[in-house]
């Protein structure tokens, strides 16, 4: 294996270096270095940026801004990000969480990308040198983007309106059978007034359960009223098959776990 690392202090210089063939950006390296160890020779040069601004967390005026190099461990232990802690803690074990970054999670193929599922439910914007992109658009085009992600931004969710669930076979640490994040607003009578639901492992990248979101509007979170949303949860999904679970199994258990998340 021969792999050269290029270190830059600014994103601008690193972006220029990344235009060369065979180069790849290095975040925490949990996927990139793993691929190199596995014998992936498609990458000959890694590019990293040491700008400390990329590791900053800013919470102000109801808005959260996470730098791309912020780690899952930093999110899990941040006092103002308690609502997001379950999603950050869902990623890997303690050592992985000290390394795994927000930026890298946006690119992680299923069954990985648990934190990106949370960001999709939160309707985050992804920031690059070219400007800001809604996360849904960003995820759809992530295979062809070359620009370095500098951070993500989203409105700080109220703890009671944001829910996250990861199902894995090995506890407390294990790869996802599936993960689900939901951002729900309830009216005074308890009926859902807005819903955004994101799913992990139901495609090669995080996707939204749009039919279930629609079916949930106006419903109270009781087993009877959420039943149509659960029935619609599988619309448009194409779950992955891997050693953890088959696509069939993932599709079968999705409504069960969505039901548990919603009626909790």
């Amino acid at each position: 294996m021969s792999l050269a690392l290029q270190t830059f202090s600014t994103v601008k210089d690193a972006n220029a270096a990344l235009q060369a063939a065979g180069t790849r950006y290095l975040g925490g390296g949990t996927l990139v270095v793993r691929a190199a160890n596995e014998g992936d020779v498609s990458t000959s040069s890694l590019v990293r940026v040491t700008d400390p601004g990329l590791s900053q967390i800013a919470v102000a005026g109801g808005k959260v801004r996470l730098g791309a190099s912020v780690t899952m461990a930093a999110i899990a232990s941040h006092p103002e990000l308690a609502a997001l802690a379950p999603a950050a803690r869902a990623v890997g074990g303690p050592a992985i969480r000290n390394m795994a970054t927000v930026g890298g999670n946006l690119f992680a193929p299923a069954p990985y990308g648990d934190f990106a599922v949370a960001l999709l439910a939160l309707d985050a914007t992804v920031v690059t040198g070219d400007g800001e992109t809604p996360i849904e658009t960003f995820l759809a085009g992530r295979d062809t983007t070359r620009a370095i992600v500098t951070g993500v931004g989203f409105a700080s969710p109220k703890a009671e309106s944001f829910r996250f669930l990861k199902v894995s076979r090995v506890k407390p640490k294990g790869v996802s059978v599936l993960s689900i994040a939901a951002l729900l607003e309830l009216a005074a009578d308890g009926a859902v007034s807005s819903a955004r639901i994101a799913l992990g492992c139901m495609a090669d990248r995080p996707t939204r359960a749009k039919a279930a979101e629609k079916a949930l509007l106006g419903c109270k979170l009781t087993p009877q009223e959420i039943a149509p949303a659960l029935a619609a949860a599988g619309e448009g999904i194409a779950p992955i098959t891997d050693p953890i679970a088959s696509a069939w199994y993932r599709a079968e258990v999705l409504p069960v776990h969505l039901g548990r998340l919603l009626s909790n």
Partner: protein
Amino acid sequence: MAKVPVQFTLNGSEKAEFIESGTTLLNALRDKIGDTSPKGGCHQGTCGACSVIIDGELRLSCLTLAETCNGADIKTTAGLAEGGVLHPLQRAFLDAFATQCGFCTPGMITAAKVLLDRTPNPSREDVVEALSGNICRCTGYEPIIQAVLTAARANSQNAA
């Protein structure tokens, strides 16, 4: 491939080496510097045998490039004993039969060390969580969990 200089503190002593760019910290420690306490179990981030402590945080040395550790303070299990006296964690692992083939042990001990440094009196759940990235094929985990809890008690008695 061009060699690059790396310089860091390992278990309290300064190390400087020329390595090939892209070398993992695990390979640099084992093959260049001669600290073979971190083990290469999977090189995939899944087994935890290569766990080391970098600037106080648990990391996987198999997924860390050595060049990114310039100026860092690195601790491995090899540096825990002081003057021939085993660290309480090492003592507890021996006494509790928490080490059999021993391949996972240095990783388990670094993970446990980070836990006890921050949480001197951990609950059983804290221990299970702290060791959740480390795989052992021999012991069935229970003796390891007990060893960490025993070491924590020994530490707090010493401190009292």
